[in-house]
């Protein structure tokens, strides 16, 4: 399945979400704003995040290890550099509130943030060290970025895809392959690959709709796969109807994380607080995001 290079070129100029763009501009023009507020805006916006990571992982820096969190990017590149990269992205403009594809941006952001929190929480369950858990949040945040790319640059075909998914109940990614020539998981993975993100992250995004018969050796992939499904259970996304019945999932899922989806969700300490915190930026501005 090929992702067109023209589409990947376009991604360089993809704008971020309107509310984040507003906040970046407001925070960077207020000399008294705290750096952690700016970091929070960036690391809760998939487009800002992916683009800052793109700069941080670019060939100009001889990284000893790849940069997968915004905190890491800030320490490595310096706060001011990250701030100005964010401003440069903000200067491109912002994603239209109402896109031609009829793609629900609010729903997309809610699903991405929920997946991010869940993937991080599952990482804790697997006793992944705290510093690495940040990568799991990023994986959740970015996993569906391909959908935004389609909505922005292939609006007509993506609208058709979304409608067919709604009417047929078939998984979105399968219809994408038919109508758009590749699916959002592949597109997101190719984008992350092109921008030199670490291999486990690329693989996790590529396979986030593919359970695998056995647990993969990549815990990031396992956590993202399950986190995505749990996120759809917590708040059913309109853009991507859930395609999996938990009964047909391979046994490793439940061996690794818990008996069934409900008990996995229940066993997560502080989940509600984390979700509320992660999605707090969504509600500011009267839901006009």
């Amino acid at each position: 399945m090929a992702v067109s290079s023209e589409l990947l070129e376009l991604c360089d100029r993809m704008p971020a979400f309107p509310a984040s763009v507003q906040r970046v501009i407001a925070l960077t023009s207020d000399i008294n704003s705290s750096p952690k507020q700016l970091v929070k805006v960036i690391d809760h916006d998939p487009v800002l995040t992916i683009k800052i990571l793109k700069v941080a992982n670019s060939a100009y820096f001889g990284l000893s290890r790849p940069i997968v969190s915004i905190n890491h990017a800030v320490v490595y590149l310096g706060l001011n550099t990250v701030k100005h990269v964010a401003l440069a992205i903000a200067a491109i403009g912002s994603l239209p509130r109402n896109n031609e594809a009829g793609f629900d941006m609010d729903d997309y952001l809610l699903h991405s943030l929920t997946s991010a929190v869940l993937a991080r929480s599952l990482a804790h369950k697997m006793s992944v060290p705290e510093a690495e858990a940040a990568n799991y949040f990023v994986a959740g945040l970015l996993h569906d970025i391909g959908q935004v790319v389609f909505a922005q640059f292939k609006p007509k075909a993506f609208q058709e895809t979304l409608n067919e998914a709604k009417n047929s109940g078939q998984p979105l990614h399968e219809i994408e392959r038919r109508i758009l020539g590749s699916d959002h998981a592949e597109l997101g993975a190719v984008l992350c690959e092109k921008w030199s993100f670490p291999e486990p992250l690329v693989a996790a995004i590529r396979m986030h709709h593919t359970p695998g018969i056995r647990a993969s050796g990549n815990p990031l992939r396992s956590c993202l796969f399950v986190g995505n499904l749990l996120a759809a259970r917590i708040s059913q996304p309109v853009n991507a109807p859930t395609a999996f019945d938990e009964n047909i999932l391979p046994p490793w899922v439940f061996r690794t994380f818990g008996n069934d989806f409900d008990s996995i969700i229940e066993s997560m300490v502080g989940l509600q607080t984390d979700l509320k915190q992660a999605t707090s930026l969504l509600s500011v501005g009267g839901g006009s995001l």
Partner: protein, 294 residues
């Protein structure tokens, strides 16, 4: 290897009666390798007199390592006379700016545009070579090896290490010790702190056991509290890094433009008085200071 300081001031040149002993020119440091080759750290206003000296010398070739392109580190360049001489060869080393999306050549050419300077970069007669470095590069320049590491400053800044015949120098460029943006009770405090430790550790690894550690110490501790995020260190943060890198000698530089000679004398005396027994010898940079590393 020999080291000579031609400019020790930060931010802006500051001539006048109160800076006459330590000097008012901005950053420029000359290294002479054992085989007599010249490597220059930064092109502040101190590079003008250095250029006059080099023009009279036999050696036709030199390297200029630019830590970053803030004015006080490049402003002397249009007055660096070897650039105007056809028999000279100058190699520039520096970073690609990820925000500006421009390389060193474009940024340096910009300060010679029509409204800033009467001669265009295109009209310079010397053979000029621009080398964009990624972090962790290793450059062989004549009998020396140059390596670099990313520091913490509002613009992308490289620190450089030069090794020659078993002797070594590290120059920090401008550097502020990274500060944790989270409060100690925030969830991310610990993670962020670890990232800071990694970053400082990496710098100290590059500077490990250098014979001479030249570092930005623009502020005193109370001043830093007012100027956090401006990108500079203090005498004590600089000393802490030198200790961690196990440097064999430390020179504090990039003096604040408002710092008087008398203040620097007092700071120097205080540092000597507080010096621990296993601390490296410390010096405060002054224009004309020469250090022969043997």
């Amino acid at each position: 290897m020999k080291v000579r300081f031609w400019g020790v001031r930060g931010s802006i040149a500051s001539p006048g009666p109160s800076t006459v002993r330590y000097g008012g020119n901005t950053t420029c440091i000359e290294l002479t390798t054992d085989a007599g080759h010249t490597i220059i750290f930064d092109a502040g206003t101190g590079i003008r007199p250095l250029g006059l000296k080099l023009l009279a010398a036999e050696q036709k070739k030199c390297a200029v390592c630019i830590s970053h392109t803030h004015w006080d580190h490049i402003q002397g360049l249009p007055f660096f006379v070897p650039l105007f001489s056809a028999d000279r060869e100058v190699h520039f080393y520096g970073a690609f700016d990820p925000v500006y999306q421009k390389d060193l050549e474009s940024i340096l050419a910009q300060q010679m545009e029509y409204c800033y300077f009467p001669i265009r970069a295109l009209e310079l007669k010397a053979k000029l070579h621009y080398h964009t470095l990624h972090e962790g590069a290793r450059i062989e320049f004549e009998d020396a090896v140059i390596t670099n590491v990313m520091m913490n400053h509002p613009v992308l800044t490289y620190g450089y290490r030069v090794d020659c015949n078993g002797k070594s120098v590290f120059f920090s460029g401008d550097h502020e010790p990274p500060h944790n943006i989270y409060d100690s009770d925030d969830t991310f405090y610990g993670e962020y702190d670890q990232l800071i430790q990694d970053k400082v550790g990496r710098i100290c690894e590059v500077a490990n056991e250098v014979d001479l550690f030249i570092i930005d110490a623009q502020y005193t501790e109370p001043e830093l509290l007012q100027k956090r995020g401006w990108g500079h260190g203090t005498f004590s943060s600089a000393l802490a890094m030198a200790r961690r890198a196990k440097a064999k000698k430390v020179v504090f530089t990039h003096h604040d433009p408002s710092r008087t000679d008398d203040q620097l004398d007092r700071i120097g005396a205080k540092l000597q008085a507080q010096r621990r027994s296993n601390d490296p010898p410390m010096l405060i940079a002054a224009e004309g200071l020469e250090i022969d590393l043997g």
